[in-house]
C-alpha cells in the first residue's frame, strides 16, 4: 500500500500502521481538514471529500462532548457490513491531528486498528517537529499550497 505525506516525518509511522493494522484507507489531517498524509486513496477528489467529512465529524462530536461537559471523544467508530470507519485524534508537537481509517472487516478488526493506532499516536508524538509559529493564511498562497500538497500526496 502506497503511503504519501506532505510532511515527511509522518511517513515511517504511517507505513508501520498501515502494514500492522492492515488498513484499507488512511488519512492524517489537521482538525481543520488539511491533509498531511494519506494511504490507499487513488484520487485527489476522494481525499479532499473524505478529509472534509472526517474533519466535520470530528468537529461535530467534539462539540457534542463539549455540551456534555467532557473532553472530546477519543475514538469514534462506525461499522458497516463490510467496512469499518475509525476516527481518532492525537496531540503531537505539530499540533492536534485527526486520523481517519477505513478497514475491511474480513481482513482486520476494530481491536487491531485501535491497538495499532495507539502505537501510531505514540510514534507521531515522538517523530513530530515542534510546531512552527503560526503565520497568516493569505488567499494568494492558498491555491499554491493546496496544489503543492496534492502534488506531494499523489506525486503528480
Amino acid at each position: 500500500m502506497t503511503v504519501r505525506a506532505v510532511e515527511h516525518w509522518l511517513l515511517d509511522p504511517l507505513h508501520g500502521f498501515v502494514r500492522e493494522a492492515q488498513a484499507r484507507l488512511v488519512l492524517v489531517m489537521t482538525p481543520a481538514g488539511q491533509v498531511l498524509a494519506q494511504s490507499g486513496f487513488a484520487r485527489a477528489l476522494d481525499v479532499m471529500a473524505s478529509a472534509a467529512l472526517g474533519a466535520a465529524i470530528a468537529a461535530s462530536t467534539a462539540e457534542l462532548a463539549r455540551q456534555l461537559g467532557q473532553p472530546p471523544f477519543p475514538v469514534l467508530s462506525h461499522q458497516g457490513e463490510r467496512h469499518g470507519i475509525f476516527l481518532s485524534r492525537c496531540t503531537t508537537g505539530r499540533g492536534p491531528l485527526v486520523a481517519l481509517v477505513v478497514y475491511d472487516l474480513d481482513v482486520t478488526s476494530l481491536g487491531l486498528v485501535q491497538l495499532f493506532f495507539e502505537q501510531l499516536a505514540a510514534e507521531l508524538v515522538a517523530a513530530s517537529p515542534r510546531v512552527a509559529a503560526p503565520r497568516p493564511v493569505l488567499a494568494a498562497d492558498f491555491e499554491r499550497e493546496l496544489d503543492d500538497s496534492l502534488n506531494a500526496l499523489f506525486r503528480r
Partner: protein
C-alpha cells in the same frame, strides 16, 4: 447476561494457579467484553491479537476441512495463551504462566464458555 454478571464467572478461571488473567473477548472486533487481569497484562493488545489469530485459525481449519476448534493452547517461553471459542463468536481467553495446569484451566474456560454463549 450482562458484562457485569460475567465478571464473577471469570473468577473460576483466575483462581486456577498460574493464570495471570482471563477475558471474554468479542471475536469479530477483538474488543474486551469483560476481563480480570493481573497488573502488567496488556488486555486490549492480547484481546485484539488473539481475536485476529482465532479468526485466521478458524479459516485455516475450515479450509483444511477439520471443523471448528473447541480449544487452543499456545505455549511460549514465558507463558501460555489458552483460548476457547464459543458458538456465538465470543472467545474466552486466559493468559497463564508456563507451568499452569493446562487441564484445569481448560476445564474452567469451557465452563465459562458454556455460561457466556
Amino acid at each position: 447476561m450482562t458484562p457485569g454478571a460475567l465478571g464473577p464467572i471469570l473468577d473460576r478461571v483466575t483462581r486456577v494457579r498460574g493464570v495471570r488473567g482471563a477475558m471474554i473477548v468479542s471475536g469479530d472486533d477483538g474488543l474486551i467484553v469483560v476481563a480480570q487481569l493481573m497488573e502488567g497484562v496488556k488486555g486490549p493488545a492480547v484481546a485484539a491479537l488473539a481475536a485476529s489469530l482465532a479468526n485466521r485459525l478458524g479459516r485455516a481449519l475450515e479450509a483444511a476441512g477439520l471443523g471448528a476448534s473447541p480449544f487452543w493452547h499456545l505455549q511460549a517461553e514465558q507463558g501460555a495463551l489458552l483460548v476457547v471459542p464459543t458458538p456465538t463468536g465470543m472467545l474466552v481467553v486466559a493468559v497463564a504462566d508456563p507451568d499452569v495446569n493446562v487441564g484445569m484451566a481448560r476445564l474452567e474456560l469451557l465452563r465459562v464458555a458454556e455460561v457466556a454463549r
